[in-house]
C-alpha cells in the first residue's frame, strides 16, 4: 500500500500548493474581475457577505459551474429514476430525510432535523425541519408518505422500477405484490405534519444512508393527477438546493439556486450548467479550453489512453479516488468445462492484474482478489481493511497444475477454445484482448473474444448463454450486503448459475442480524466461499474515479460509491 500513501502525499501537496496559488492569484486578479462582474452583482454580493469561508479564499463573481453529463437523464421523477446521471441532477434538486456526508461516509440530517431509533432497530421516528418547496409550500411528512406510496403502488403509471428499494419497509413488498392492499399497513406513517414514523421489515444498519437515495425523496402534492409533471421545468416543484430552470432535450440542462432552500446560506453556486456531450475526447478538450470546470468521472469520462498523459500534464487538477465498484469476469458454472472450480481457479490465477492496470486500464485501479471493494463500511471502519482479500494469489505454475488436475477430472486433454464475451466498448475490448493473451501465454488456452451489442449481451448473460462474460457491480448502499446477496440461489442478478445452500444460509442469517461484528464474520465467510472455494467469478480490479477539477473549483465531493454531490461546490476567483 505504498502506492496509496504516496498518492495521499501528492494530494496533500497539491492542496497546499493550490491554496497558496489561489491566495496569491486572487489579489492580482481582483481588479480585472470586478469590472467584468458588474452585471452579476447580486451573485457577488451574496457570495461575499454570506460566507466567511477559509480565510484568504475569494469567491469568483460568476458562480456558474459548468460540467458535462455524458448522457441525458431519462427522467427527473425520483420514483422513476434508475441511473447515475439522474442521480447527479436529482441530488441538486431534491433533498431526502438525510444527506450523505461524503467526507465521513455518514448520513447527516437533511429534511429530517433529528430522529429516534427504537431499541430493536425497527422503528425510526423522524422530526422534520421547517423546510419549504420551491413554491413556498412547507415540506411535510405527508410529502414523504405520498412519494413512497407512489413508489410502492403497483398502479402508479408507469410503475416505479426501483420499487424494491423500498422493500425494507414493513409490508413494502407485500403492498407492491398486493398481498396487503391497505397502505396504512405499510411501515410509513405521518404522525403529524412534521413527524414521520418508519417501520422496517428487518433491522437495517445502513437504512439512514438509504434515505439519502433518490427513490426515497419526497414529492410535492402537485404531482398527483399530472402524469407529465416531471417532463417540464414549469411543473417541477422541488425541495433541494437548486431548481430546474432550463431543459432542452439532448442539448442542455441548467439548474439555478433555490433561494427558498432551508440551507440556502451554505449554497454558493448560483447556477449549474450541464452540457450533454457523449464523447470523452470532446469533454477533455472542452475542459482544457476552459469551457468546463470539471471533467471525467462520474459524470463524464477521460479517454483511457489519455489518463496517463493528463495526470502528468495537469498534476494539480488530476484527482483519483477509489470507488466502491468491482470489475470482474463471471463464469457460466452450469456448463462444461467451467463447472469445474479448479479450471476456473487456474484462469483467475493467471491474470496479471497489476500489469493489466498499469498498461491497459491505465486508471490506477486496485487489483481485486475479492469481491467487496474498499470503501464499503464494515463493523468498525472499512470492511476491506478488516477482512483482507487474500483469497488467492497470482501464480502461473500453480495454475498450470490446477488446470491439469481440473482437465483430468473433466476427462479432457486440452481445454477447447473458450469464448469470452463483453459488451461493445473500447475499454472492455482492450481488457478482454489482454487477458485472452495472458491465458494463451500462461496456460496455452485458445480464447475467442466475442463482442456483443449491449442488450444482446445482457440477455445472453442473464440466460446463461455464455462461457465467460465481463461484468461490473456498483454498490447500491454502503454495506457488503449489496455485493454478496446477489449470489444467492436464484438471485435476480446471479448470472452464473451458482447455487450453494450454505452460502444462502449465511446471507439470510446476516440479513436478520443487527450485530455488526457477527454480520461482518458472516460476510467474510460468504466471500471466502464465493472466491476462494468456488471461484464463480474472477475479480479483476476495484474501480477508481479519475477526474480533472480546475484548481478554482472547490467543495464538490464524491461519496463511497462515486456518486457526485455538486450542491456545496464553489468557484474561487481565477
Amino acid at each position: 500500500m505504498k502506492k496509496s500513501k504516496s498518492l495521499l502525499l501528492m494530494i496533500a501537496i497539491v492542496l497546499v500548493i493550490g491554496t497558496v496559488l489561489a491566495g496569491c492569484g486572487s489579489n492580482n486578479a481582483n481588479n480585472g474581475n470586478n469590472a467584468a462582474a458588474t452585471n452579476n452583482a447580486t451573485a457577488t454580493d451574496n457570495a461575499g457577505t454570506n460566507t466567511g469561508n477559509t480565510g484568504d479564499e475569494k469567491l469568483a463573481a460568476d458562480q456558474t459551474l459548468r460540467i458535462n453529463l455524458s448522457a441525458e437523464p431519462p427522467t427527473f421523477d425520483p420514483a422513476q429514476a434508475q441511473d447515475s446521471q439522474a442521480n447527479t441532477v436529482l441530488k441538486t434538486m431534491y433533498e431526502g430525510l438525510t444527506r450523505m456526508n461524503d467526507e465521513t461516509g455518514q448520513a447527516e440530517p437533511g429534511i429530517a432535523e433529528k430522529w429516534d431509533v427504537s431499541a430493536d432497530g425497527l422503528v425510526y421516528t423522524f422530526h422534520l425541519r421547517d423546510a419549504v418547496w420551491s413554491n413556498g409550500d412547507p415540506v411535510e411528512a405527508a410529502d414523504f408518505v405520498r412519494a413512497w406510496k407512489r413508489v410502492l403502488d403497483p398502479n402508479t403509471d408507469p410503475t416505479a422500477p426501483y420499487a424494491y428499494q423500498l422493500y425494507y419497509l414493513k409490508n413494502g413488498e407485500e403492498y407492491y405484490t398486493k398481498k396487503v392492499t391497505d397502505f396504512n399497513e405499510v411501515g410509513v406513517k405521518a404522525v403529524d405534519a412534521k413527524t414521520l414514523e418508519v417501520t422496517l421489515k428487518a433491522p437495517t444498519p445502513y437504512f439512514l444512508g438509504l434515505l439519502s437515495f433518490y427513490t426515497y425523496y419526497p414529492v410535492h402534492k402537485s404531482v398527483e393527477g399530472n402524469a407529465k409533471w416531471a417532463t417540464s421545468k414549469d411543473t417541477m416543484i422541488t425541495n433541494g438546493a437548486f431548481t430546474l430552470t432550463e431543459w432542452t432535450t439532448g442539448q442542455s440542462l441548467q439548474v439555478t439556486k433555490n433561494e427558498k432552500y432551508w440551507d440556502a446560506a451554505s449554497i454558493k453556486l448560483s447556477k449549474i450548467d450541464f452540457s450533454l456531450v457523449n464523447s470523452g475526447a470532446t469533454e477533455l478538450l472542452s475542459y482544457k479550453n476552459g469551457e468546463l470546470d470539471r471533467a471525467g468521472g462520474p459524470t463524464g469520462e477521460i479517454p483511457t489512453d489519455q489518463i496517463p498523459i493528463v495526470s502528468k500534464e495537469l498534476p494539480n487538477e488530476f484527482v483519483r479516488k477509489g470507488i466502491a465498484s468491482v470489475y470482474y469476469y463471471e463464469f457460466n458454472i452450469t456448463e462444461k468445462p467451467f463447472d469445474n472450480a479448479k479450471i476456473r481457479k487456474a484462469l483467475a490465477m493467471t491474470v496479471n492484474r497489476q500489469v493489466l492496470i498499469d498498461n491497459v486500464t491505465l486508471g490506477g485501479q486496485l487489483p481485486a482478489y475479492g469481491f467487496v471493494p474498499p470503501g464499503i463500511a464494515g463493523a468498525n471502519g472499512e470492511y476491506r481493511t478488516a477482512v483482507k482479500d487474500s483469497y488467492f494469489t497470482e501464480d502461473a505454475e500453480a495454475a498450470k497444475a490446477l488446470l491439469a488436475e481440473g482437465l483430468k477430472e473433466e476427462g479432457l486433454d486440452k481445454l477447447p477454445t473458450v469464448t469470452l464475451s463483453y459488451n461493445t466498448s473500447e475499454g472492455h475490448k482492450k481488457i478482454a484482448l489482454a487477458i485472452a493473451d495472458m491465458w494463451k501465454n500462461a496456460l496455452g488456452i485458445d480464447v475467442q473474444t466475442v463482442n456483443q451489442e449491449w442488450a444482446v449481451f445482457i440477455e445472453n448473460r442473464q440466460n446463461l448463454n455464455y462461457q465467460i462474460a465481463r461484468a461490473g457491480w456498483t454498490a447500491d448502499y454502503n454495506d457488503p450486503m449489496t455485493f454478496l446477496d446477489m449470489w444467492v440461489t436464484g438471485g435476480g442478478n446471479n448470472d452464473t448459475g451458482y447455487a450453494n445452500p450454505e452460502y444462502d444460509k449465511l446471507i439470510n442469517e446476516a440479513k436478520a442480524s443487527s450485530d455488526l461484528a457477527a454480520r461482518q464474520e458472516m460476510f467474510a465467510k460468504a466471500e471466502k466461499m464465493l472466491i476462494e472455494d468456488d471461484m464463480i467469478l474472477i475479480p479483476l480490479y476495484y474501480y477508481t474515479n479519475n477526474s480533472l477539477t480546475k484548481e478554482y473549483l472547490k467543495g464538490v465531493t464524491l461519496d463511497f460509491s462515486g456518486a457526485i454531490d455538486l450542491t456545496r461546490g464553489y468557484l474561487l476567483e481565477h
Binding site: P303, Q306, V355, V360, T424, L433, D437, T449, V450, V456
Partner: protein, 315 residues
Amino acid sequence: MASDKNLVSLDANLKPEDFRKIGIDEKQAEVIQRESLSAWRDSWQRLRQNKMAMTALGILGLIVLAAIFAPYFSKFNYYSNDLLNTNKPPSGDHFFGTDDLGRDIFVRTWYGARISLIVGLAAAAIDLLIGVIYGGIMGYFGGRVDNIMNKFSEILYAIPYLLVVILLLVVMEPSLGTIILALTITGWINMSWIVRGEIMQLKNREFVLASRSMGAGSKRLLFRHLLPNAVGPIIVTITLSVPNAIFAEAFLSFLGLGVQAPVASLGSMINDSLTGWLYYPWRFLFPAILVSLIMLSFNIFGDGLRDALDPKLKK
C-alpha cells in the same frame, strides 16, 4: 473509306456467275454499333496511354502485394500483446511503432489492408452489380415498374439499419461474409438511384430514339447504349462506396458483426487510435495514410477508366 473506293475502281469485267449470294441478316444490317471486342480493346488502349491511371493501378497492385506478403517479413504477428511495450513510436524493431496493447502496427496495418481491401472491393462490386441492374430497370421501364421497385428500395433504405445489424448479429456468426452481407443489404440502393436518374435522362436522347427506331430491344438499349453512357456517375458512386465500406466495416466490427478483435482492419485501427492521435500519431497515421492512398489510386484509376469507357468522351 479509302478502301471502298479501291473496291469500286477494280476491274469491272465481271460476270453474274462470279457473284454468289452470302446470307445477310437484314436486321443485323440495320444495327449500328462498333464491334464490341474492338471497343474493349480500344478502351484498354486508351487506358494504357493514361499515365496517371496506370501509375494508380501500379500503386494499387503494390498495396495488394504488400497486404498479402508484408506480414510474412516481420517477426511479429498481428495479435500478440506486449504490455510492457505499449504505444512505442516507430523504430528499427517496429517499423510503424506499437499500439495500446504493444502489438506491431506494421504487421497490423498490412494485415488490416488485406481485410479492408477484401471488404471494400467485394462490397463495391456487389453494390455495382445490383445497383446498376436494379437502377437500370427502374429508370428504363418507368411507370408502375419504377414505382414499385423505387418504393421497395426506399423502404429498405428507411428501415433502421442498426436494427438490421443487431438482428444479423444474433442470427449469424461474425465473419467476413456476414460483414459483406451487412454492407450490401442497403449499400446498392444509392447506386441504383443514381443509375435510375441517369437512365431517365438518357432514354429520351436522340441516339436512343435512333437505336430504338431501328428496332433495338430493351436489353440491347439498356446495356449497349444507356448504361455505357452513364458510366461517369457510376464510377464516381463506386469510388464512394469503397471507403464507405471500409469505414462501415470498422463500425460493424466494433458492434461485433464483422471480423472480431484482435483481427485488424484499417478502419478499426483508425477508429481505435483516434482519441489519442495527438499523443500517439503513428497509431493513427499509418493506417490513415494507407486508406487515403488506396482511395486516391482508386479514384485516379476510376477516372481513367471512365475516360476510357465513356463513349461520349471518345475523340
